[in-house]
């Protein structure tokens, strides 16, 4: 009776050992593929985060440059903007030591600084160029976990003009 019941429950030790042996063989055969799969997954996740961060940065800059700025001065990769609110000045600059883009906003009440990037996604190769009197070009790379994504966008300054210093 005891033996019969035992046969109807779970695995016997030999079966479990055989199962483990099969899994070990499968892992040995496909192990590198599995590792590669997880690395790919991690890289793709990182890429998604970089794309999200890049889109966020470009969208934030677009609002200031295309609509709010009435006078833009480009000098040493710094964008200096006089905005449509007459006494509000905005400076978009790169900080090499912190590998990020920062926006300094000055009003009659003082100056405040806000990051224009996502903390984990570091910024490299930040470049700003005047294209013509109404357009500027912004280029940068975002880096995370040894993954790099390039971003570039031309902004049309609808309310003002672009100067170079």
């Amino acid at each position: 009776m005891f033996l019969q019941n035992r046969h109807h429950r779970g695995f016997i030790l030999t079966e479990a050992m055989a199962g483990l042996a099969i899994m070990a063989i499968v892992l040995a055969l496909f192990g590198s593929q599995v590792v590669r799969l997880f690395v790919s997954w991690r890289n793709m996740r990182t890429d998604v985060e970089l794309f999200d961060a890049g889109r966020y940065m470009l969208t934030k800059m677009e609002r200031e440059i295309c609509l709010d700025a009435v006078q833009i001065t480009v000098a040493n990769n710094i964008i200096d903007m006089q905005t449509k609110q007459g006494d509000r000045q905005v400076l978009v600059r790169y900080s090499a030591e912190r590998k990020g883009i920062y926006q300094d906003t000055t009003t009659n009440e003082g100056t405040g600084t806000n990051p224009l990037f996502i903390r984990d996604c570091l910024v490299e190769n930040w470049q700003v160029q005047k294209i013509d009197d109404k357009k500027i070009s912004v280029k940068f790379d975002l880096v995370k976990n040894n993954r790099i994504k390039n971003f570039a966008r031309n902004f049309y300054c609808l309310n003002g003009v672009v100067n170079v210093e």
Binding site: E15, Q82, T83, G86, D87, T107, Y156
Partner: protein, 292 residues
Amino acid sequence: MWNRRSGSASLLILAGGLLLAGLGILFSYYFSQNANRQVEYVRGVQRRELGYAAMAELTVDDSLTALATTEDFIFQPDGITAKVTKTVTVSSDNNFRLREVQVASGTEKFCLTQQSFIPSAAVQTRAGSYALSSAVAVSSSKVKYMNGAAYSSGKTFNMPKYDLTNCIEYDQTEINHYGLGGNINYYSKNLTLPKMTYDGNAFVIVEGNLTISNGAVFNGRTVFLVLGTTTINANVRMQDVFLLSNGTVTLGSGCNITGHLRTNMTFDLKGNSNFVAREDAGRAFNGVVFIK
């Protein structure tokens, strides 16, 4: 004997297979979500760029009068049709233009608007010739305070008919923080501009009385339409002003004003000031383009 057992190693393999299939579905869901976000972003950029380009076309030409057009564009990568509608509305007295652009694709819309003030030819001509102009002549005892500025009297004007639909009523806190805005600043009550430096261009409509505090400095182009009286206190500096006031304009001493001040009443000068006419004082004022 083995086949009769309820447990088998094949269950492990089946579970592993299900796990892998689940992971595959999760992967594809995650990345399709990201692909959708990218497509939405690209479509949004195209919508806005189209809007900017259409508005740039409208603003480049001040002579454009009433207009209403619609054009279709195809967005990439998904081939959605976008409808671009451009309209220009002119006020009944022809002094204001309202330019609007709407880009609609699917359920998404992006609208831009801009207002311009274009004084009549007669007002522009007078503004270019005189620094001061009043309907009622200035008291002869006070003319000396003008320091020989170009002045004329005897002509009234009609206050331009503005439309407040697209105007923003600012409060004093915003002025203290940001100065005056580049789109039309509207005040339904009395307005006092504090002593500070005002940068940038501004268009200000005051339905009450306007008071400009001692020592205020205006560096940009400033256009005022004042339905009540105007008081410009001592030592105010204005580099490029165009002011139309229905009521009396009171001027403190020591002011340096370049541009054109005009009233349907008279000027009350409290002391010596310098007034310089500008040939282009009455030129069109294009407000900034903003998202509606």
